[in-house]
């Protein structure tokens, strides 16, 4: 099928964002901003739709271009390359971005910076699309950083709020921290492969793994195989909020809720997962790297799930839930299954975006309260916000893994992948995953019950009402997707076939599915039972052993504050001392030397003619010496046929020769040497 020009996919939203940015400067034009960006997103989606590939036929419109050719043979490429993995991501991004933008029309109505918001969203969409259609590491990295910038801009959207500004900085700095490792990994790979392109890089790694290529820059081949994916994974740890760099994601909830939904649930944080999936052959070449991914994924999932139990802020629960689910995705990838990880990415995008948007709907309804996010001040919203409650409930069921909903299928796939892997680490991860499934079900149910069930625990909750259709419509769409998409993709191995080109070899054993479902249902039942009539003074969760640890976020924050923040400040103090005393010292000394030497030299122009004359004579002596030293053996004057003086023995002949010489050359010649 002929596709429209594929470069439209990232560029249409970019153009819309730029125009919307200009509209920021006008007053009336603000209304047009969402129309622009939504239209652009729709356009990108349509272009993507026409470019749907299958394994056998990549879309005809794939673009490869060179932006810059560097001396030494490196080329910085740009390209649009859509394969099934990329197309899946395109579908997710366009869908969620579109729905969130529509939702935002209602959510952000009346806010200052309305056009600015949509400009940023458009920019983000463009960057994220550019990231997933990238055909090379260079473009991936550039778009990676771009989405980081957009995240910073959007978290700090209400920049006059100090906590928001701090959260934005924190997000940027923490992810940047991971990006250092990412960049090192990229550079290492590129220096070995000689090119930025994915196919070149993966082929090089596979050749090294097979032993065909033994010399790599900087390190031995064996070290390279492990080091490169681990360095790349650093970026994923930062961007996808894995332990220990997950600390920025909960704080990122300072941004508007649709932003949290789009960026910090569905898409940007998934970029790390996408990157690992895209480069999975590189990871697969090193068992150590795969195990690392597995371990970090499972640790993240567990820690975040335990913390989510203790949170009273509706968005923070969801934030930690996102961290936990991202850990799940990494678990799936680490177990070796690209399709399981990406499947969960897709379903998670749907239901987590849904959950955030419902949270946003609730927050919007409770905007008059002191802290609209506080679960303890909610309650009884089921009767007052029926649509939100129902869609929220569907999201919760999907998150918990209720059999039949989309989350169920994708979690199942991950568990199956861990089981199929069979290594001790994978089996341990499997156990953790099942525990996490139970915890997830529990805290999700707790959240829903606290928000919607029972009686209102505050005035604002009592007076809440349903959000306008522009906000509830996306909720319903996402709810449908959360219900059905998982099952549809799973049926007949449709998704795996699309992604990998062939259906999975075996399906997940029934006992595992049953075990996971039991865990989920158990968690949900417990949550329902404990929070049917919640009394916030005595939150059952607080009786949990280890509550203090969980509530204190496992002290990871404190650790980063001490090491990262104070450590950097200490280094900064040392550097500042050096700058002040050494660098400035040198400069000051040079200045002082100039001044002093000027003062001393001033005495030279004393108006005394004799001192001038003395200096002059001294210079004459020096010059004469120099000429003596350097002028030894100067070339003899040409004698035009006369013999050199030393050869003329007889004095008379010598005199005659000399006179002849003078006659020939004139007077004033000094004697020949």
């Amino acid at each position: 099928m002929n596709s429209l020009p594929l470069w439209l996919i990232p560029f249409a939203p970019l153009l819309a964002a730029l125009i919307a940015g200009v509209l920021v400067l006008t007053r009336r034009g603000e209304r047009a901003a969402p129309a622009l960006t939504i239209a652009a997103t729709v356009l990108s989606g349509m272009v993507a739709l026409t470019a749907m590939p299958d394994r056998a036929h990549p879309p005809a419109g794939n673009i490869e271009a060179t932006w810059l050719s560097l001396p030494g043979g490196f080329q910085l490429p740009l390209g649009v390359h859509i394969d099934p993995l990329g197309w899946t991501m395109l579908a997710v991004i366009c869908t969620v971005s579109l729905l969130v933008q529509v939702y935002s029309i209602g959510y952000m109505r009346g806010e200052n910076g309305y056009a600015r918001y949509f400009a940023y969203l458009g920019l983000f969409t463009a960057s994220m699309l550019g990231l997933v259609v990238a055909s090379n590491l260079f473009q991936l990295y550039v778009c990676w950083e771009l989405v980081g910038i957009c995240s910073y801009l959007l978290i700090g959207f209400w920049w006059s709020k100090p906590s928001a500004a701090k959260a934005a900085k924190k997000a940027f700095v923490v992810t940047r921290f991971g990006d250092v490792g990412f960049l090192l990994g990229v550079l290492l790979l590129v220096s070995a492969a000689g090119s930025f392109r994915f196919d070149a890089v993966t082929q090089t790694v596979q050749r090294i793994a097979r032993g065909e290529l033994t010399s790599v820059p900087l390190v031995s081949a064996q070290v390279f195989l492990t080091l490169a994916p681990l360095l790349l994974f650093c970026g994923a740890i930062g961007k996808s909020a894995q332990f220990p760099l997950h600390v920025w994601l909960p704080d990122a909830m300072e941004g508007p809720t649709p932003v949290s939904s789009l960026i910090h649930a569905a898409t940007m944080v998934a970029a790390g997962v996408y990157m690992v999936a895209r480069l999975l052959p590189i990871f697969a070449a090193s068992p150590v790297a795969m195990e690392t991914v597995l371990i970090i994924g499972s640790v993240t999932a567990l820690i975040a799930a335990t913390i989510a139990l203790t949170q009273n802020d509706i968005k923070k629960v969801m934030a930690y839930s996102t961290v936990s689910q991202l850990g799940y995705m990494m678990l799936g990838l680490g177990a070796g299954s690209q399709s399981a990880g990406i499947f969960h990415l897709v379903t998670h995008a749907m239901f987590k975006a849904l959950l955030f948007l419902t949270a946003g709907s609730v927050i919007h309804a409770l905007h008059a309260a002191a802290d609209p996010n506080d679960l303890r001040a909610m309650g009884g919203l089921f009767r007052r916000m029926r649509g939100t409650a129902i869609t929220g409930g569907i999201g919760v069921l999907a998150l918990a893994g209720f059999p039949g909903l989309s989350g169920f299928w994708s979690k199942d796939a991950i568990l199956g992948a861990a089981l199929a892997n069979g290594s001790p680490v994978a089996l341990a991860a499997l156990t953790v995953a099942i525990v996490v499934a139970a915890l997830t079900a529990f805290y999700a149910t707790r959240m829903w019950m606290l928000a919607f069930a029972g009686e209102p625990r505050s005035e604002t909750a009592a007076h809440a009402h349903e959000s306008p259709p522009v906000m509830t419509l996306p909720l319903w769409i996402l709810a449908v997707l959360s219900l059905a998409l998982g099952g549809w993709l799973h049926a007949g191995g449709r998704f795996t076939a699309f992604l990998l080109g062939s259906a999975p070899a075996e399906s997940v054993p029934f006992w595992l599915t049953g075990l996971a479902s039991a865990a989920a249902l158990g968690g949900m039942a417990l949550g329902w039972a404990l929070y049917r009539a919640p009394q916030m003074a005595d939150d059952p969760v607080m009786r949990l052993p280890g509550y203090a640890l969980f509530a204190n976020l496992w002290y990871v924050e404190a650790f980063w504050n001490a090491v990262g923040a104070r450590g950097t400040l200490a280094v900064g103090r040392v550097v500042a001392w050096f700058d002040r005393h050494v660098v400035d010292g040198v400069v000051d000394r040079v200045g002082r030397a100039c001044k002093t030497s000027g003062q001393e030299l001033r005495h030279e122009t004393n108006g005394q003619v004799q001192s001038y004359a003395t200096t002059l004579m001294a210079a004459v002596v020096v010059v004469a010496l120099v000429f003596t030293v350097y002028d030894r053996g100067s070339t003899p004057v040409a004698h035009a046929g006369l013999k050199p003086r030393a050869e003329i023995r007889s004095p008379q002949k010598r005199a005659k020769a000399h006179l002849t010489f003078i006659a020939a050359h004139g007077n004033g010649e000094r004697g020949d040497r």
Binding site: T614, V621, A624, P651, R654, G671
Partner: protein
């Protein structure tokens, strides 16, 4: 040229010249210094004679010992009031200058003597021959430098007159030097 008589003549004339020159430099009183110039010039004239440049022997005596020395002594007389013998006659750069001059002497003498000059055994013509040749050269081949030299002398003459002429009436008494601290001025006498 190496006859003992010639050697004695050379050494004594050189000694005369150089010692007189040293006295010129070291004499406390400017008048003494001026007078020490005389044996110096005479010594140089003698050396010219030893070099068989007889014309210049005479010219040296006439011009240097005769004219220039007198001129210098006149100037000394005219400015005697300003010369105070109490003050040291050399400035503070004595050692530095001495060092530099010694270096100068050593370097130039060294450079000059290290060269292998192609000395000829020919002798110059006698006085008449030399003088005639010089005269012919001055009027013949080198008439232009000759005329220019005359112009130079004319300019010097006019310039000296203009410069030395009193510009404003009778010459005022020179003001006393401020840093003498009340020291009485020495009348007449040496520097």
């Amino acid at each position: 040229m190496n006859a003992p008589g010639a050697q004695i003549a050379f050494y004594s004339l050189s000694a005369l010249t150089l010692i007189s020159a040293l006295m010129v430099v070291r004499a406390r009183s400017i008048v003494h210094a001026g007078f020490w110039l005389l044996p110096c010039f005479i010594g140089v004239a003698g050396l010219f004679a030893a070099l068989e440049a007889h014309f210049f022997f005479v010219v040296q005596l006439l011009i240097y010992a005769g004219a220039i020395l007198v001129l210098i002594l006149f100037a000394v007389m005219l400015t005697r009031d300003a010369a105070h013998p109490r003050h040291p006659q050399s400035n503070r750069m004595g050692w530095t200058a001495g060092l530099i001059c010694s270096a100068l002497i050593i370097v130039s003498a060294g450079l000059l003597t290290r060269q292998e000059w192609s000395v000829t055994a020919a002798r110059p013509a006698d006085v008449a021959g030399q003088t005639r040749a010089l005269g012919e050269a001055l009027i013949g081949r080198y008439v232009v430098p000759f005329e220019v030299a005359s112009l130079l002398l004319l300019a010097a003459l006019v310039g000296a007159i203009v410069l030395a002429k009193a510009e404003r009436g009778p010459e005022p008494a020179p003001p006393p030097l401020a840093d003498l601290g009340g020291e009485a001025r020495e009348p007449a006498g040496a520097e």
